[in-house]
């Protein structure tokens, strides 16, 4: 993985010093809270319901055992013994103090980490495929471009105070695992085969999608540029961000994201304006050079893989003790993904054990143990996924059984990846001061209701995402089943959306109707799931059944209990009157 050079290291060290001074000025009162706020946000520091929350970047999801150990130590020393992995490849600490933050950032800087631009109205931590460099379906390893863009966007002066936050995602695989179309800018990398002077060349290019996003107005991004050579990304993105910086709305925070500008202008007109701006700067020296590519890309070479022969799942299972084979096979099916290199596989450690306090949480002890597992089984590297799980990307297939045993001890081996209980959830009203409602008790109640692994396996791929408010940190819009916390007259209610989907066939879920009380949600989900089970054709996944039969049968089922209750009440009232 990428190793900081003196420039990167100097920059994060100096950033810590700068923030230390800003905090001191805040504490002595010379910097007002209103004016300190954007400064702390651009260093990942939020003020939440109970305490400060610090969001630390895991750029494009890649980190090392050494870094995870530091994250664990921070959770022990400065927080309450756990950390929360987010959907944006960050880790959050919920209980830090303002006074400690400069020291935490200094600890992070020692292991080449930071919290720069993990919040605020700036270019945020760049997210990518957690399986970059190893996925069997990959066209392009996105990591060098992600790292180049991380550097380019870090402390970019012109775009330090954009109208609103700005998120990049980069994908280079056949299956999109980044929710590319829900980002302000989605960069789809590919190799273009051309013949130049009689020689076949494989040019790295990008397709650019702009104006996607979730929140109050969920919109999928529009394709605005095709076949952009990789090296001109800085000038093209400068043009794009400049148009947004100048013309994005600043009068209304809810209409300030780039998606509103792209929608108002139309994608064609937006693309035309970006093109117009780009024409003036496309040949400038902002662009990446081959030397920069070489410097960065050399860090993303393959680790020292052994020459192994590929094993089939049957062989792997056959080599395990007979009594364990059924459970092991399930884990292999759900939590192990194919690799580019024969004899290797990628393992997803589930941070969604049933009954968990919060999806995506890991304790200090778990983090330390997982760091050891990555050293032992996966070249000391880890990935954080959009679904809030962790990945050991380079595991020898012959060691999968052994690793499974170890993972079970840490309670990160539940074979529920991609299943109904692999819930994406924000921290919600338990922590976040923006939230209208709690997310975590809902997630827990659903996991308790669907605690039967046989049944979950039978249901197959279903995503259930929960957000505590319309800011949509739990990505409910793209969950097959989405749950959104809403506030009605000071009470917590939950709105259900159906039909959302991430990936290549992304779609935004549709609200099915009036919202529910928290204690109604498990029954509502059960009724929706029963409808799917009754209506599905063979092995058809939930989303396909939904797309085939439409929302109505699900909606009727979801409100069945409510309608029956209402009828009962009507009868009682009628009976009482008679």
């Amino acid at each position: 993985m990428y190793k900081y050079d003196a420039i990167d290291q100097t920059l994060v060290d100096q950033r810590v010093a700068q923030f230390r001074d800003q905090v001191a000025r805040r504490l002595d009162g010379s910097l007002a809270e209103e004016e300190f706020r954007p400064l702390r946000l651009q260093n990942g520091l939020y003020h939440q319901r109970h305490a400060y929350m610090l969001r630390v970047a895991i750029p494009y999801g890649l980190f090392s055992a050494k870094q995870l150990r530091t994250l664990a130590l921070i959770s022990e020393k400065y927080d309450r013994g756990y950390g929360h992995f987010t959907t944006r490849q960050n880790i959050q600490y919920n209980w830090v103090t303002l006074e400690d933050t400069p020291d935490i950032l200094a600890e992070l800087a020692k292991v080449e980490m930071h919290a720069i631009q993990t919040s605020g109205n700036c270019i945020r931590n760049i997210t990518s495929d957690a399986f970059a460099g190893v996925a069997a379906d990959e066209y392009v390893d996105t990591r060098p471009i992600c790292e180049l863009l991380r550097q380019w966007s870090t402390l970019h002066p012109e775009f330090a105070h954009l109208p609103r936050k700005f998120k990049f995602a980069v994908n280079g695989a056949k299956e999109d695992r980044t929710v590319l179309l829900c980002h302000d800018v989605g960069i789809e990398l590919k190799k273009n085969r051309n013949i130049n002077n009689g020689e076949l060349t494989n040019e790295l290019t990008a397709d650019i999608y702009a104006g996607g996003g979730m929140g109050r107005t969920p919109i999928l991004g529009s394709l605005i540029k095709q076949d952009l050579p990789w090296n001109v990304l800085p000038s093209y993105l400068t043009a794009l961000l400049r148009v947004y910086n100048r013309f994005g709305r600043r009068d209304n925070i809810y209409k300030a994201r780039i998606k509103i500008l792209v929608k108002a202008l139309g994608p064609e007109e937006f693309a035309r304006q970006v093109e117009g701006e780009w024409a003036h700067i496309k040949n400038g020296d902002d662009n990446f050079t081959q030397a920069e590519w070489d410097r960065v890309a050399k860090h993303f070479t393959r680790p020292a893989y052994k020459t192994l022969s590929a094993l089939s799942n049957e062989q792997i299972i056959h080599n395990s003790p007979e009594t364990e084979q059924v459970a092991f096979a399930r884990w292999l099916e759900r939590n192990v993904k194919p690799h580019q290199v024969p004899g290797y596989a990628s393992v997803i450690l589930s941070l969604k054990p049933h009954g968990t306090v919060a999806p995506g949480d890991a304790t200090t002890a778990q983090m330390l143990a997982i760091a050891d597992l990555s050293d032992q089984y996966s070249f000391g590297e880890l990935r954080a996924t959009h679904e809030q799980n962790l990945v050991l990307a380079d595991v020898e297939q012959s060691k999968l059984f052994e690793l499974w045993q170890e993972a079970k001890k840490q309670k990160v081996a539940l074979p529920n990846v991609g299943l109904l209980t692999d819930i994406i959830a924000c921290p919600g009203g338990d922590f976040c001061s923006l939230a209208n409602a709690k997310s975590l008790p809902i997630a827990k109640a659903i996991q308790e209701r669907f605690d039967d692994l046989d049944y979950l396996f039978d249901l197959g791929d279903i995503s259930l995402n929960i957000s505590g408010c319309i800011n949509s940190c739990g990505h409910h819009h793209v969950g097959n089943i989405g749950v959104l916390g809403v506030d009605k007259d000071g009470e917590e209610w939950y709105q259900i959306t159906l039909g959302g989907e991430q990936g290549n066939d992304a779609s935004i879920g549709k609200v099915i109707g009036p919202s529910f009380y928290a204690d109604e949600i498990p029954d509502v989900i059960t009724n929706v799931i029963n409808t799917y089970v009754a209506q599905r054709n063979g092995e058809e996944p939930f989303i396909e059944t939904y797309r085939r039969i439409g929302v109505t049968p699900f909606k009727e089922a979801a409100y069945k209990d409510k309608n029956e209750d209402a009828k009962k009440k009507e009868k009682e009232v009628a009976g009482g009157a008679a």
Partner: protein, 205 residues
């Protein structure tokens, strides 16, 4: 003179490209031109008296544009040439739509400024970048309005070289902002991004 908004800055922080940050007395007053009112509504479109009192004034770019076809044009241009009138850009001035005015203004303006209505509004960063990159403006660009200590670095990098800080800002702390970083990871008006060749040299020395 209630329609005038004469800023009360005593000192301006100057940070010329390639130079050091220093403080110097402010010679310029910012006039807002009563932009929100028409003449019929009692708007005051009379420049401050440049013979007595204020000798140098920054006028709104929109006001400058509006005067170019009037009988005052020659007088205003002559005052600009004498170094008495510069323009300031509001955040919603689309400078690219007035490229001809800016190209002509480059020959006469002694100073231009860009306004920050609130510190977290970053539009004037792009204005300064465009003035430097697109229009090759070589003169001074001043940041005016809600200019705070923690915007100085960003402003200096996009193209500002003088700052009328909000009067409550501590100028001693302000002067120390510019050497917080010795490296950068993208080009700016001040210089190219740090390169690994530099890194090798640093390590060798």
């Amino acid at each position: 003179m209630s329609q005038m908004n004469l800023a009360s800055h005593q000192e301006i922080l100057h940070f010329p490209k390639g130079g050091k940050p220093t403080l110097a007395p402010n010679e310029w007053q910012v006039w807002n031109g009563d932009q929100d009112k028409s003449e019929d509504e009692g708007g005051n479109f009379t420049l401050p008296d440049l013979e007595h009192g204020a000798h140098k004034v920054l006028v709104p770019f929109t006001w400058w544009c509006s005067q170019l076809d009037s009988h005052h044009a020659a007088d205003i241009i002559s005052k600009a040439k004498k170094g008495q009138i510069g323009v300031w850009f509001a955040t919603d001035d689309d400078i690219l739509k007035h490229a001809d005015v800016i190209e002509a203004g480059k020959k006469v303006w002694p100073l231009v400024a860009a306004h920050f209505p609130i510190f977290r509004d970053g539009r004037s960063f792009s204005t300064a970048a465009l003035l430097r990159n697109r229009f090759a403006w070589q003169g001074e660009i001043r940041a005016i309005g809600d200019v705070l200590i923690d915007q100085l670095l960003q402003g200096a990098r996009v193209g500002f070289d003088s700052f009328a800080l909000r009067p409550d800002q501590n100028l001693d702390i302000a002067l120390k902002q510019f050497d917080l970083y010795t490296v950068t990871t993208q080009n700016s008006w001040r210089g190219k991004r740090s390169t690994c060749e530099l890194h090798v040299q640093q390590y060798a020395s």
